[in-house]
């Protein structure tokens, strides 16, 4: 079995009396796109900064790409790519010089640096701008350059802190194309985000709030967990009778009616719809319309975050 790419044990970080991270246990598997989702101030940036060796945890430990970050930060840094939340490249260097500089401090051999540099610039479509000063680039291009820099040494894990914050949706899609492409080549992703559409695209999601882990699962499982199953909506010839009948069915939970439409929670929507349709038909009720409801991750997010309640006081 492949060891986990990221493994944290009781990771805790305090800033004075504020507990930014509270005994966080995380594991990220090799090859996955792991989303780290939480509201502002939940501890996302603190977590990635610790994972990248930029901050020392107050207690607990983190192993990244097989090395303890506290003990061997340089080994970790050599093997991961990091894209900070705020753009932090040199405005007075050109696109190519920025890449070249970062290539050199990651000790990428010069010819490989050039080859990889060209490849990456093509990937992020900045090859035409290689001689432009980074300071002259647009916001979106700066973000692309930032991604390019984090890739120059061929990292096995990319840690991205809100990589598409402040980026328009079309470009966000383009970024995700890069991520998918790189992921196919074997790069593991750890992505901080508070965009729901972005979170949907992750293989697994960790939901955090107030520095605590609320849930870890795939987006679909997370929804299931929040709702307690899958949601379906029925319109029948007799709503009231349908409701009272379905309330007696074991596999149906949380049946409700609103505006003549019945919504129910079941374990598996796909098999439940035909089963319930014939069940009702036997009892003289016609199902006029049946569909599975797909709750947005946003609903799930809000529901789960609310359940975690107030920030614990220290």
């Amino acid at each position: 079995m492949m060891p986990d790419v990221v493994q944290t044990t009781q990771l805790t970080k305090r800033f004075g009396t504020l507990v930014a991270l509270d005994h966080m246990n995380l594991s990220v598997k090799a090859g996955e796109i792991f989303g780290f989702l939480g509201p502002n101030g939940a501890g996302k940036t603190t977590t990635v900064r610790i994972l990248c060796g930029l901050m020392v945890p107050t207690s607990g430990s983190a192993t990244v790409v097989g090395y303890d970050v506290a003990k061997e930060p340089e080994e970790v840094k050599q093997r991961i790519g990091y894209m900070p939340q705020s753009y932090g490249l040199y405005d007075d260097l050109t696109v190519e010089e920025n890449l070249e500089f970062y290539g050199s401090i990651y000790r990428v051999p010069p010819d490989e640096r050039r080859r990889r540099g060209s490849e990456i610039l093509q990937l992020v479509r900045l090859d035409e701008f290689r001689d432009h000063f980074a300071g002259q680039l647009s916001g979106g291009m700066k973000r692309r350059l930032s991604l390019a820099v984090s890739l120059i040494h061929g990292p096995e894990l990319l840690i991205l802190d809100e990589p598409t914050a402040g980026i328009d949706p079309p470009l966000r899609r383009v970024f995700w194309e890069y991520f998918r492409h790189l992921n196919k080549l074997g790069v593991t992703f750890f992505i901080n985000t508070h965009y729901m559409d972005e979170a949907e695209l992750c293989d697994r999601l960790a939901l955090i709030n107030y520095g605590r882990l609320v849930a870890v699962a795939s987006p679909i499982e997370l929804k299931r967990k929040a709702i307690g199953g899958e949601q379906i909506e029925l319109v029948t010839t007799d709503a009231q009778r349908t409701l009272s009948m379905l309330r007696d069915v074991d596999s149906v939970r949380g049946a409700n009616i609103s505006d003549g439409t019945i919504s129910l929670v079941v374990d598996d929507a796909a098999s439940s719809i035909p089963r319930l349709t014939s069940f009702l038909k036997e009892r003289g009720i016609e199902v006029l319309q049946a569909r599975q409801l797909r709750p947005s991750l946003e609903d799930v997010f809000i529901k789960l975050v609310q359940e975690t309640g107030e920030r614990p006081r220290q």
Partner: protein, 352 residues
């Protein structure tokens, strides 16, 4: 509008303290440093006569506020050596025939001054003349001035080495502290320290570049002083380079320390400014330290710039060798090592 601006100013404690304290600090320092009259000039008395008249003269000299007689000898060459090595700035030579000469109303005393300090050198002869006049109401004593090293007492010879010292103290310190604070301000530091490059490498990279810049500035300043203003460099260039290296390392390290406490370039500059004033006025650049109030003298003697300027003046103007400036070199080296170690220690590769 005025109220809002005032609120900004008061809330920004650094600026507030700066606008409130700086004028007080500056005026106090200048007042204490520039006492108006040159006093306490270290003096060696060469009494070749030793008879009563000469003794009385020495007593009157000793009573003077201007002079601080540290050494007595009867050997002129010893006095010259004391001046050359910087232990004394003035030698008052009483010839062997003084007693007889005075009686024949023809007395002469010689005042040998260190031309590398024209301020003291210029002040001393009239004072001695005054003492001599008061000493013999009816007798005439002539005071002859002999200037060593900078015979025309040119101010440029005095000031040029000091300006080099000041420049090397201030600009590399400001530039490196701004460069480091700038990385923090623009957020480039976060991307940089996420790489395996060590903090020492980041620091040394900056040190080397600004060291080179410092040498370039020092060289161009000296070239202008020599070729445009006819400054004569009497001492060893190698020795000058040695001092420049040590001193540059010290001011760059100090700049690094300052940047450690500054989140922005503005903060770095605000921290540096008061230090600059103190350094310029108290380092003996314009005015001899001996003449300053005893209240500020201790500050002068812990400023590395004081030692740098002393050494540069000795080497450039007086042609002094290593043996003369050993103390300066020891102080500066110790200071530099301490600063460098502190700089490396505070330049941590972490975010907090």
């Amino acid at each position: 509008m005025t109220k809002k601006e005032l609120t900004h100013l008061i809330r920004n404690r650094r600026v507030f303290a700066l606008t409130l304290l700086m004028p007080l600090l500056l005026m106090t320092i200048v007042g204490l440093a520039f006492t108006g009259e040159v006093r306490h000039i270290t003096t060696v008395v060469v009494n070749k006569d030793g008879r009563p008249f000469s003794q009385t003269l020495v007593d009157s000299l000793r009573a003077s506020e201007t002079l601080r007689i540290r050494y007595y000898t009867d050997d002129e060459s010893q006095a010259e050596a004391l001046i050359r090595d910087g232990f004394a700035k003035v030698a008052i030579v009483i010839p062997a025939t003084f007693d007889d000469d005075v009686k024949s109303s023809n007395g002469i005393i010689y005042v040998m001054v260190d031309g590398s300090d024209p301020v003291s050198a210029g002040a001393v002869a009239p004072v001695v003349q005054g003492i001599a006049l008061g000493f013999t109401e009816k007798l005439r004593i002539q005071v002859e001035r002999l200037v060593l090293y900078n015979p025309s007492l040119r101010y440029i010879d005095f000031i040029a080495p000091a300006i080099v010292g000041i420049f090397l103290q201030i600009f590399p310190m400001i530039l490196i502290s701004m460069a480091i604070a700038g990385e923090r301000e623009r957020g480039t530091i976060e991307q940089l320290i996420a790489t395996p490059v060590s903090g020492l490498e980041i620091l040394l990279g900056k040190l080397f570049v600004y060291m080179g810049f410092g040498f370039l500035s020092a060289t161009s300043m000296l070239v202008v002083a020599v070729y445009v203003f006819n400054l004569v460099v009497r001492g060893s260039v190698l020795l000058i380079v040695l001092f420049l290296t040590v001193f540059l390392t010290a001011s760059l390290s100090l700049g690094t320390l300052i940047s450690a406490g500054s989140k922005t370039q503005m903060q770095a500059v605000q921290t540096v400014m008061p230090m600059i004033y103190i350094m310029i006025f108290l380092s003996g650049t314009f005015y001899p330290i001996e003449a300053m109030s005893p209240l500020v003298q201790p500050i002068s003697y812990v400023l590395p710039l004081t030692y740098m300027i002393h050494a540069l003046r000795a080497v450039i103007v007086k042609g002094a060798g290593l043996e003369v400036v050993t103390n300066d070199l020891i102080f500066l080296s110790t200071y530099t090592v301490v600063m460098l170690v502190l700089a490396v220690a505070v330049f941590r590769k972490k975010l907090e």
